[in-house]
């Protein structure tokens, strides 16, 4: 009997893994993700091409020569009056600084020939404010002012440590991103593979293979075989991605890292409280990706929730697939199943502010939302007992869900032609 499930699993698995779409999506997904990360820097590189020229007409006389040009914006002093300057149409814009700028901070105007740009606005206001501040400070005649200003200049790099756990430092931004990626991944997986299970059941109904199948195998076994088969496909896909990411982080990142950053990463992996010189968030992110142990820990929990979330919702999708005749009819019911998935995703996105709030706690216990919410909380060092309880609740609910799905499946697969109501489906569960 068990081997029959095995035969069904093997068929479901082989048929899907051999499909071109599977192979393409398995390879393309990581490429796509890397591309997503690379897009912002690429865009920056391309937008650098056009330099914005700004003519500065400075009536106050102390600002124009202190404006510093950058890769993006170049300032040049224009010694005529504003009206003639404004006749130049081939430059980005004309900055007119009034003579009362010291006393009236709004006595400054930018006449733009081109579309206004936030970057330019920010650069100008930032630079001019600094220059005016310095000018005002100078009025107090402080000795060695420049040196003092250089020395007092400070930018704090805040690192947060988990108080209960000596070993790890957490970056809230990093946790947020890791959590978000995981819950998005889960959301995608449940939808993608849940729908795959549902469609494979509807396909069997429309192909009329079912009656042939159930004369050889119990419907419950057939159903389990399908869920497990598709689940295995999902697992293989995650494992391939996991290996690719681990390879990338284990080999590529250390090789590409600048030496001082690499030193910081090594230091932080040895002693998380070590002082570091470069950007905190980046070093912590890199340290995390270079730290194979922690990656495996997160990966194992993520895998448990991926499998659990998939099984739980797959059972729901099985019941839907068995109850309807075609994909069109299914959409009404999938909408109901989608609701808690979406809710889980939204809660997990909003959780960053208070990862241990009551809402976060309870939604990570309820099996409808727990996979998504817990995934986004993992990076915040959730107490182990919470994870354990949530997993137990999830897997017990899975058993109950699959039992119900099997009931609906048994009755539903031979109901052709009529779309049942939700009430009827509930009644099917009571059939013997």
């Amino acid at each position: 009997m068990k081997s029959k499930i095995g035969i069904v699993i093997a068929r479901e698995f082989k048929e899907r893994v051999r499909k071109k779409s599977f192979i393409i999506s398995t390879i393309l997904m990581p490429v796509f993700m890397i591309a997503m990360m690379a897009v912002p820097s690429l865009m920056l590189m391309f937008s650098k091409g056009e330099k914005k020229e700004i003519a500065v007409v400075d009536n106050s006389g102390f600002i124009a020569d202190k404006l510093v040009s950058s890769d993006e914006i170049s300032y040049f002093v224009f010694d005529h009056d504003v009206d003639s300057a404004r006749k130049m149409g081939d430059i980005y814009g004309i900055l007119h600084i009034g003579d009362s700028i010291l006393t009236n901070s709004s006595d400054i105007r930018l006449y733009a020939n081109d579309a206004p740009s936030i970057n330019v606005d920010e650069d100008i206001s930032h630079q001019v404010s600094k220059i005016i501040e310095n000018e005002k400070l100078k009025a107090y005649n402080i000795h060695d002012l420049d040196q003092i200003l250089d020395e007092v200049k400070t930018e704090v790099s805040l690192r947060t440590f988990d108080n209960s756990d000596e070993g790890s430092s957490t970056s809230s931004l990093l946790s947020y991103i890791v959590g978000l990626i995981f819950s998005l991944l889960l959301y995608m997986f449940i939808l993608l593979y849940g729908n795959m299970v549902m469609n494979s059941i509807i396909e069997e109904k429309t192909n009329r293979v079912l009656e042939l199948m159930v004369s050889s195998i119990k419907p419950a076994q057939l159903m389990l075989g399908k869920i497990i088969g598709v689940g295995l496909v999902a697992t293989v896909q995650i494992l391939i991605w996991g290996v690719l990411i681990a390879l990338a982080s284990g080999l590529l990142i250390p090789a590409l890292m600048p030496a001082n950053v690499a030193a910081d990463v090594a230091a932080i992996n040895a002693d998380p409280t070590a002082a570091i010189s470069s950007n905190v968030d980046m070093v912590q992110a890199l340290a995390l990706f270079g730290n194979v142990g922690q990656i495996i820990h997160i990966f194992v929990i993520a895998l448990l929730y991926l499998v659990g979330g998939f099984l739980f919702y797959a059972a729901i999708f099985v019941a839907i697939g068995a109850a309807v005749d075609n994909v069109q009819d299914a959409s009404q019911f999938t909408g109901i199943a989608m609701f808690p998935i979406m809710a889980g995703l939204i809660i997990s996105m909003s959780i960053a502010n208070s990862p241990n709030s009551g809402l976060a706690f309870w939604t990570s216990m309820i099996p409808f939302t727990s996979p998504m919410v817990m995934m986004s909380r993992i990076a915040y060092n959730v107490p182990s007992w919470e994870v354990a309880v949530s997993l137990v609740v999830l897997f017990v609910s899975i058993l109950a869900m699959i039992w119900m799905a099997a009931k609906v499946y048994r009755v539903g697969i031979f109901m052709y032609g009529k779309k049942p109501s939700l009430k009827e489906i509930v009644r099917w569960m009571k059939y013997k």
């Binding site: 035969i7 192909n207 009329r208 009656e211 042939l212 050889s216 119990k218």
Partner: protein, 317 residues
């Protein structure tokens, strides 16, 4: 000896009764035809035998013990609603179904190649099912149904979708399987095939078993007291002369020199009493016992039954 027995099976669907107290007994080694008009309940009965639907009451016995789910998995069942996985290759799919029936991969492969060679369809092995026509797919389904050499085979409308040549091929295969010891139950509307291969039938009409038995017995029953006369002469004089002795079931007068009439003699009237009466009024060309075809028996039995049930209803009113 009987292999399968259906005892007082009833099944009620939401707004109609599919089977009402149906019983039948299927002898070992027979080819058993399950006949009946559309919607009579044939498929429901077959589904009940295969444990796809549960009966409201009644029981099915295999070899004198109640039929269990595990017994069902050893039956070779070709459903009326049959299909294959469209995207899968033919050979692979056939092996998949054979393995579900308990054959090993190598055993399934050997037997399938024999069957494919037998039907001359070896080049279908690597094709996808969606490339096959309906009739071609039916052949593959037939092979997967009989591959594990079941003792009991159930075919629901096996001839639908086959051209006459392939229907003949299928008939020969069914006879061969019977000769090898299998018992075959099949449902059909195709009366010609019933005459050619069935040795037992049950006729189901409106959820009831209205006629059961060996084909020879059924024909004898429907040919008793039936005669066919070919004559030349006045049809109305003949009708008048036969009044009170026989009923004219069927008349044809295409050729006035050779009119034909089918008679059913009333009880207690013998052929030798009728011949002089007929001889007095018309010229007899031939006078012979009449053996109706299964098709005629089918139509007559169903019509008689419908008449009875409708008069029953009228009486109730």
């Amino acid at each position: 000896m009987e292999i399968l027995r259906v005892e007082n099976v009833s099944k009620q669907f939401a707004n109609h009764k599919a089977l009402d107290n149906v019983s039948l007994s299927i002898p070992q080694g027979s080819i058993y035809g399950l006949l009946g008009p559309n919607g009579a309940g044939k498929t429901t009965l077959i589904r009940i035998i295969n444990h796809i639907t549960a009966p409201d009451s009644g029981q099915v016995f295999l070899d004198q013990h109640p039929l269990t789910a595990d017994d069902v998995y050893s039956i070779g069942y070709l459903p009326e609603e049959r299909g294959l996985y469209k995207k899968m290759r033919v050979g692979e799919q056939a092996i998949f179904f054979a393995r579900l029936k308990g054959l090993s991969h190598s055993e399934a492969s050997t037997r399938l190649h024999q069957w494919f060679a037998h039907f001359g369809i070896e080049d279908w092995w690597g094709k996808k099912v969606e490339e096959l026509s309906k009739g071609m797919a039916q052949k593959v389904q037939f092979i997967t149904t009989v591959l594990h050499r079941p003792r009991l085979l159930i075919f629901d409308e096996p001839f639908s979708g086959f051209d006459p040549i392939n229907a003949n091929l299928l008939k020969d295969e069914i006879l061969r399987l019977r000769d090898e010891g299998a018992t075959v139950i099949f449902s059909t509307h195709n009366m010609a095939s019933v005459e050619e291969i069935c040795d037992h039938i049950t006729l189901i009409n409106k959820a009831h078993n209205i006629l059961s038995g060996s084909v020879a017995d059924v024909r004898r029953k429907y040919s008793s007291q039936r005669y066919r006369i070919v004559y030349s002469g006045d049809a109305s004089r003949l009708a008048e002369a036969l009044l009170g002795k026989a009923v004219i079931l069927d008349e044809s007068a295409d050729d006035p020199q050779a009119r034909a009439a089918t008679l059913r003699l009333d009880n207690g009237v013998a052929a030798r009493d009728i011949i002089p009466v007929v001889n007095d009024c018309v010229d007899i060309r031939s006078f012979a016992e009449y053996a109706p075809s299964m098709n005629e028996i089918f139509i007559q039995a169903v019509n008689d039954n419908n008449l009875i049930t409708s008069t029953d209803k009228n009486n109730e009113i």
